[in-house]
C-alpha cells in the first residue's frame, strides 16, 4: 500500500518543482474562487425577472415637433390606431420603460397624521392608463385595475390612484394589505394617492439600484410633445410593426419623429451588458487559468517521470504494479494540491476581503474556494493520470541498465 511519509520526504527533498506547483495552485485557487464568485453574483443579478412579458413588450418614442398639433387628442387617436393593428395585444403611453436605464422615481409620504408622516422607499413611477397592466403582462394579485373613467390626461400631478408592486407594498405597509392605503406625492396631505391594486412583480429602470422591485403605476395619460409608447404584441411581429406603426401614425399626422423600437428583452441585454461582459471575461479567465494550470501540472509530472525513469524501473523490478506507480504520482500531486488548495483558500478569502473593502463587492462565500479546490483535485487527477500511465509502462529492465 501507499506510504505517505516517504512521498512527503521525497517532495521536501526536491524543493523547487513542488514549490512552483504549490505556488501555482495557491494562486489559481485564489483567483478562480474569487472570479467564479463574482461570476455567480453577476449571473444571479441578471437572472432577476422584470415581471413583464419581455419578449412581447416593446417601446418606441414619438416626438411631435410641430406645435400646431393638439397632442391630447392626437395621442388618443394614435393609441386607438395602434391597438387595432394586427398582432398588437395592447398599448399604452408611459413615462418610462422597465430595464431601460432611464425614467422617473421618487419616494412618497405616508402616515396617519402629519406628525407620524414618514417617507417610503423610492419607487419607479409609471404613468399610464387602464391598458398598462395588460400591456406589461404583469399579474394583478390584489385589488383591481384602473377603470377607463379614472384615467386623467395632462400633467403628472393629476394622479389620484395607484397600483403598486408587491415589493413596494411589503416595504411600505408590511403585512397589512396595501389596498385602500393613502400615500402622498408631496408632503403629508399634499397630492394624495389611493392604492387600488397590487401587481406581483414590476421592476423599475435601474438594475443597480436598491429599489429595483419597487414600482407604482399612476392613472395619468401624460401629455407631452415627447411621448413614450409601450406596445405588447405577439412574438415575432416587431419587425413588421416597426414599419406598420410609423406608417399608420404618419398617415394621420406626418410631423412627428417615430423611432427607437426596442423590446424589453433588448433593454435587458443592454442594461445588463456590463455585468454580462464581466461574467464573460471572468469565465474566459477561469477556463484559461485552469487550462494553463493543468497543462503546467502535466508538464511537471512528465518531467518528473523522465527524471525518475530509473527509480520507477527499480520499483517495478521490486514488484510494484502499474497501478502502484500511478497512485504514487497521484498521491504525490494530491498532497501538493491539498496543501496548495488550503493555503490558496485562505489567500482567496483574504483577496475577497481586500476586494470587499476596496470595491463594492459582497463577501466571498466559502463554498466557492471549496468547490474550486474540489475541481482542482479532479483536474489534478486527469493531468497526472495521463502522463503517469506512460510512466507505469516503463519496463522493469530499465533499472538494471546503467544510464
Amino acid at each position: 500500500m501507499l506510504h505517505i511519509k516517504p512521498i512527503i520526504n521525497t517532495l521536501m527533498r526536491s524543493k523547487s518543482g513542488p514549490i512552483l506547483l504549490l505556488i501555482q495552485i495557491i494562486l489559481s485557487v485564489a483567483i478562480v474562487a474569487n472570479a467564479s464568485f463574482i461570476i455567480g453574483e453577476r449571473l444571479a443579478l441578471m437572472d432577476r425577472e422584470s415581471g413583464t412579458v419581455e419578449e412581447e413588450v416593446f417601446d418606441f418614442r414619438l416626438y411631435a415637433f410641430d406645435s400646431s398639433i393638439d397632442i391630447e387628442s392626437q395621442s388618443l387617436r394614435d393609441m386607438r390606431a395602434i391597438r387595432e393593428l394586427p398582432g398588437v395585444i395592447d398599448a399604452t403611453t408611459t413615462s418610462m420603460v422597465p430595464l431601460s436605464g432611464g425614467g422617473w422615481s421618487s419616494g412618497y409620504t405616508i402616515g396617519s397624521s402629519e406628525k407620524t408622516a414618514k417617507d417610503t422607499e423610492s419607487a419607479a413611477i409609471y404613468y399610464g392608463d387602464d391598458h398598462m397592466v395588460n400591456t406589461f403582462g404583469v399579474d394583478l394579485i390584489e385589488g383591481r385595475n384602473f377603470y377607463e373613467t379614472e384615467i386623467l390626461t395632462g400633467s403628472p400631478d393629476l394622479a389620484t390612484h395607484a397600483i403598486v408592486s408587491k415589493a413596494f407594498a411589503k416595504a411600505t405597509w408590511g403585512d397589512e394589505s396595501a389596498i385602500g392605503q393613502i400615500m402622498y406625492a408631496g408632503d403629508w396631505g399634499d397630492k394624495p394617492l389611493q392604492v387600488i391594486g397590487v401587481v406581483d412583480k414590476l421592476q423599475g429602470a435601474w438594475v443597480n439600484s436598491s429599489y429595483l422591485d419597487n414600482s407604482v403605476i399612476l392613472n395619468v395619460r401624460l401629455v407631452n410633445v415627447f411621448t413614450k409608447v409601450l406596445v405588447r404584441a405577439e412574438v415575432g411581429t416587431l419587425a413588421q410593426l416597426k414599419e406598420a406603426i410609423p406608417a399608420v401614425l404618419h398617415k394621420d399626422q406626418p410631423n412627428r419623429v417615430i423611432e427607437g423600437f426596442t423590446l424589453i428583452s433588448e433593454h435587458r441585454k443592454r442594461v445588463y451588458r456590463n455585468h454580462e461582459l464581466m461574467a464573460t471575461v471572468l469565465s474566459m479567465m477561469v477556463i484559461l487559468l485552469l487550462l494553463i494550470t493543468s497543462l503546467g501540472l502535466a508538464g511537471m509530472v512528465m518531467f518528473n517521470i523522465e527524471r525518475r525513469t530509473k527509480q520507477i524501473g527499480t520499483r517495478r523490478a521490486l514488484g510494484a504494479k502499474r497501478r502502484d506507480i500511478i497512485s504514487l504520482f497521484l498521491v504525490e500531486n494530491y498532497i501538493i494540491c491539498i496543501v496548495g488548495g488550503i493555503i490558496g483558500g485562505l489567500v482567496a478569502v483574504q483577496l475577497g476581503q481586500q476586494l470587499m473593502t476596496l470595491y463594492s463587492l459582497p463577501k466571498l462565500e466559502l463554498i466557492y474556494p471549496i468547490v474550486t479546490i474540489a475541481g482542482l483535485m479532479v483536474l489534478t487527477t486527469i493531468a497526472v493520470i495521463l502522463p503517469a500511465r506512460k510512466a507505469a509502462s516503463i519496463s522493469p529492465a530499465t533499472a538494471t541498465r546503467s544510464v
Binding site: 406625492a185 408631496g186 461582459l277 471572468l282 494550470t293 470595491y359
Partner: protein
Amino acid sequence: MFFYYLDLAWRSIKKTPLLSLLMVFAISIGISTTITTLNVYQLMSVNPAGERSDKLIAVQLWSQGKDAWKEFNAQVTYQDAFNLRKSDLPVRQTAMFVTGLAIQTEDADFSPLLETVRVTDSDFFGMFSVPFLYGGAWDKSVDTEAAYQVVINEEINKQLFSGENSVGKTLFLDSKPYQVVGVIKTWNPSPQYYDVTTGAFKDSTQLFIPFSLAPIEEFQSWGNNQSWKRESMDTYSDRLNSEMHWIQFWAEVTDDKQRDEYAQWLTRYVEQQQLLGRFDSPEAGAQLSNVAQWLDLNEVVPEDNKILVGLSALFLLVCLVNMLGLLLAKFLKRAPEVGVRRAIGASRNQIFAQHMVEVGLIGFCGGVLGLIWAWGSLSMLSARFDLEESLTHLDPSMWIIAPTIAICAALIAGIYPAWRICSTNPSVHLKSQ
C-alpha cells in the same frame, strides 16, 4: 555573441516544440488577458484634456437642504448656472445641458431626424478645443441676446448639406429656422469628460445651440434631472426657478491663483444666496475640480475594470510560475550539454546569457501571440457586446507594451532556472554519456 545565443535559442525551441509551445502559449494567454484589461483600462483612464486639464474647472454647488444628498451633485440648478454666468472672473465659462430636437431642412422630402443637441454657450468650443472645419462659434453677444444660430458637425453637414461649406445656410430644429454659423470637424473626446452625467463613453452630440435660447424655446432636458425637494413643475419657468440639478457648469482659469480667486468669489456667492434663504445646509459651499479630479470624482473608470486588471495581473503571475517550472525542467535536461560548453571555455555569465536570450525569445513570441489573442478577444467582445469602438480598439502603445511586459515577465521567470543551470558543476555531467 547575442546572435549566436539567438541561434542557439531558436534551435533549442525547435528541438522541444511541444514544451516550447506550451510556454509560449502560457505566457501569451497571460499577456493577452493582461493586455485586454489593461487596454480598456488605459482607454478609460485617459485624460483627453491633456495639458489643459488644470485650467478647466467643473463647478459643483452644495445647494441642497439639510436632509438631502450627502455629497455635491454633479450638476447645478438653472438659477445658479444663470448667476454664475455673470461672473467675469474666469477667462471663459459655459453652462450646458442636452436636449433632443427634430431636424428638418428646406427640402420637404427630407424626413425629420431626431437628434440630441447640446445647449451651451459660445465659450464651449474654445474651452474644450473643438476644431472647426468652417466658420466658428456664435458671437459672444448671442449668449445674452438669444439668436437662432447653430453649430453642426461634419457628419450632419454631410447629411444635410452634402458636405459643402454650409455657414449661413438654414436648417430647422423643431420647425424653427436656425442659421448655421460653424461646422466642426469630427470631435469625440473619450471619455467625454465635459459631460459624464449620462455615461462617459458615448458619441458626442452633433449639434450645438445657444444656452440663451433655453428659456425662450423651453428645451426639454434629456440628461439627468435630480431634485431633493418636492416642487411642482407645471411650467418651464417653474423648472428654471426650481432647486432641481440639471445643468453642467464649467469655467476656465489661467492659473491656480485665479482658481483661488474664483473659489473665493463662489464662497461669497453662496453667502449671498444664504441671505436669500437658499443653501441652508451646514455643508453648503462650492467645489472646484480640474479635469483629472473630475474624472476621478465621477469614477469614470468602473470598479469592474480595476478588478479585472488586478485579477489579470495575478493571472499573468500564474502563467509565469507555470513557465518557471517548465523552464526549469527544460534547462536541467540540458545540463550535460551545458557541462560540455563550460568545459570548453564558456563562463557562467555566458551560459546565463545564453539561457536568458532563449527565455527572452520565448517571451517575445508569447508577447506577439498574446497581442494577437488580445486583439481577437477585444474584437470578439466588442462584437458580442456591441461596445463603443473607443473602448475596444487596440491602443497603438500596446504594440510596445505587450512585448515589453512579455519579455520582462519571461526574463524574471527565467532568472532562477538560468541561474540553476549555470551554477551546476559541469564536471558532474561530463562523465555520463
